[in-house]
Symmetry: C3
Subunit: 341 residues, 3 copies
Amino acid sequence: MAAGAQAVTLAEIAKLVDGELHGPESLGITGPSAIETASAGTIVFATSQEYLVQAEQSAAAALLLPRGLSSSAKPFINVDQPKIAFMRLLQDAVRPLPLAPGRHPTAVIDPAATISSHAQVGAYAVVERGARIGAGCRIYPFAYIGEDCELGDNCVVYPHAVLYQSVRLGDGCIVHAGAVLGADGFGFVWDGKQQVKVPQIGAVSIGENCEIGALSAVDRAMVGETKIGAGTKLDNMVQVGHNAQIGEHGVIAAQAGISGSATIGDRVMIAGQAGVGDHISITSDVALAARTAAIQNINQPGEYIGIPAQPAASGKRAMLLFAKLPELFARLRKLERRVGD
Amino acid sequence: MAAGAQAVTLAEIAKLVDGELHGPESLGITGPSAIETASAGTIVFATSQEYLVQAEQSAAAALLLPRGLSSSAKPFINVDQPKIAFMRLLQDAVRPLPLAPGRHPTAVIDPAATISSHAQVGAYAVVERGARIGAGCRIYPFAYIGEDCELGDNCVVYPHAVLYQSVRLGDGCIVHAGAVLGADGFGFVWDGKQQVKVPQIGAVSIGENCEIGALSAVDRAMVGETKIGAGTKLDNMVQVGHNAQIGEHGVIAAQAGISGSATIGDRVMIAGQAGVGDHISITSDVALAARTAAIQNINQPGEYIGIPAQPAASGKRAMLLFAKLPELFARLRKLERRVGD
Amino acid sequence: MAAGAQAVTLAEIAKLVDGELHGPESLGITGPSAIETASAGTIVFATSQEYLVQAEQSAAAALLLPRGLSSSAKPFINVDQPKIAFMRLLQDAVRPLPLAPGRHPTAVIDPAATISSHAQVGAYAVVERGARIGAGCRIYPFAYIGEDCELGDNCVVYPHAVLYQSVRLGDGCIVHAGAVLGADGFGFVWDGKQQVKVPQIGAVSIGENCEIGALSAVDRAMVGETKIGAGTKLDNMVQVGHNAQIGEHGVIAAQAGISGSATIGDRVMIAGQAGVGDHISITSDVALAARTAAIQNINQPGEYIGIPAQPAASGKRAMLLFAKLPELFARLRKLERRVGD
């Protein structure tokens, strides 16, 4: 149902989302869209009366509504959970970037690499010796899969992603364009005259079903491995330093930075532009607000905010009071004068 | 007049900038330069007596001066606006990166792509099916122009830029090296056990005469489109989240981050490392200082600063007082002791 | 001694690090590792009794210890400086990414480029006219070495790095994957209707033995050159604006941003996500803590912290007091009530 795709009928959509159709079965729908930007011929979802009103005023051709809600203005489908049904439609509409089956003739593949016959390797990809690529993998143009890298099944590596050496991806990982996995960790020793490079010989290990955003970097360990646990998702331009250990099912938003040797538990949410200091330890089930700087260990689950990070309730209060500093100083001066009298 | 280029005469320069020559017509000038780093044979500009003194002491061979200012030390050209004249010389001196006419034999172009016969496509570029590239476009090596992308006329796409799918560039856009347009928006739903990816099927739309800096990313929308208005300039490493709507003629400096679904008006200036929260709305003619975090809507034009963003006047005062917190606490303690007596 | 490499004997290691062996000469060691993650067969170092206990409990096969320290649990080698000895082992274990000698047949090299016969150029690299590449250079796949770029001897350019034009690297530089050197500086002039691009015709000059991290950017100067001094190391995603002048032997951590025309002295350490404002000057031997924003000149060596940057001692105190703002306001209110009585 993507742009340019064939329209499907409302009846087919009702079947796909296991919903109850109230409207013409043969009505053609071009795809899912959002209420605010709905174009003619699309289907939108509304979860409440308030959104229903907006949806009815939109250009959409049909609505996904929770059971109990109905529209007299537009055809609709009642479903248990409109959001989930909508996601089902998105899944149906998404088109993978084009990639021919097999190996493109221009791909440069070392004879000592092992690539599943069910993997696809695009134009101008380079796969080095000792690399192993599992079934169902899609390696897009200009990807560099370095020596001894191992990709599980069904991984997607987008154009221009670089895996240096000894980078392991579990099944179902997605690596977006321009991401760099396995570059040298940033380690130097001052010898009195200059910074001497500490060689970085370790690996990168990324669990299954992880997503690495565009232009993100995960450095290789000095020794051992830099690790990201299964199911953890990184947004764009996220930096992960050498030997960092990140748990499972985390979410790290754009431009956040995780310093070297940091240890982060499971289900940790790190918002945009936040930072975690080197060797800092953060327990599971912690959420760091945007721009927060975790420079001390966090041992209690919960929300944190600020520079340095503090529990969200007091941190937000401190942040609001910051703006009142001029008032505070004025009041203090006034008091001093009165007491001085 | 670039390094290595033929020198031009002072008379030719005077003609180019529509200025009045005071000096030898045939003096050869190798190019424009800055006062601080001027090398012999170059021409510099000075807008005041103070800069004139510096310019005369520099190694430059000649000066661009406003009418009314003159030099007894070096040949000079009087012009209405020295800065504008200097920019004219820069325009004359700039050399585009080399690119042969037509399509390089190693470019992989899908037969279902439409490329103007007046466009240039470099070595190892990939252009996918349904892509349309207008006249005068320069596509540099390793660029990836994905499925159904549309480039207007005279766009420049530098090496290693990636346009995923359904990315539209208006006429005259510049996309710098390593920029990634159209990667998946960062959307997940927690299902109780794991983060489930919300498919991202939307587009990216960039108006005419925009510039996207090196290693910047503009994510595709979930549905609908992520939009950047005509004339808006992004510096390096700028992140623009899915469904963000940025107005016209804005300037966004390096490492700033615009979260998903943010709405930003026209002529908004966002300084380096600043951030705009998701779903935040910022009206036109706003300037955010460096590192500012806009986490509430901004409805009034003007300058803002701080975390969270506040009007610049009070925000700067609060920032200065922050450094005085130790003094403040000391004074408070002193007062408490006196009042306690 | 890398993963998969042949084991070496303990005697060979003792000789390599100039140490005194206490244990079986023929014991095979697979490589160096860290105490926390040591696997069987590896060698670790310990600098004190406390670490010795941990090392003895690890799976490591042998220990590097300072003279005067000994182990009854595991074979060990006494050396003058265990850390330095360990680095020596890392140097021995590190394996460069594979690259065939000479020029890969798919490399596109302009006839007017000059490449040492002792340099290696990988698959799908592009080298433009006027470029000069010294002996011992290793240019990895997809690197773009633009017009008139000059690389000294023994430089390494990793996959997907881009050098636009007139970028000079001194001997022994390392440029990591995705780094972009020489993109246009970010300069525009508002003409009343739109932002007009100021052409950027300058160069980038990087001294010998510098390292540029993955996905970092150093913009070309407007005129003159953007300069990084010998021995300075940049981590990943570091932004350096046009005409910035950075001294020698500095260390700039990930996601830091150096604005245009900033001037930074020698041996300056800039921690992660810190920023330096445009035209700001920082003297030599300064250290900026993580997230610090230097928006005024810094003329005294020392440590600085905060937004804006202040000397570390008072800055840290102010930062700690920030969290106490709610308490401060409460105490002030209490005082006001008492004094008001």
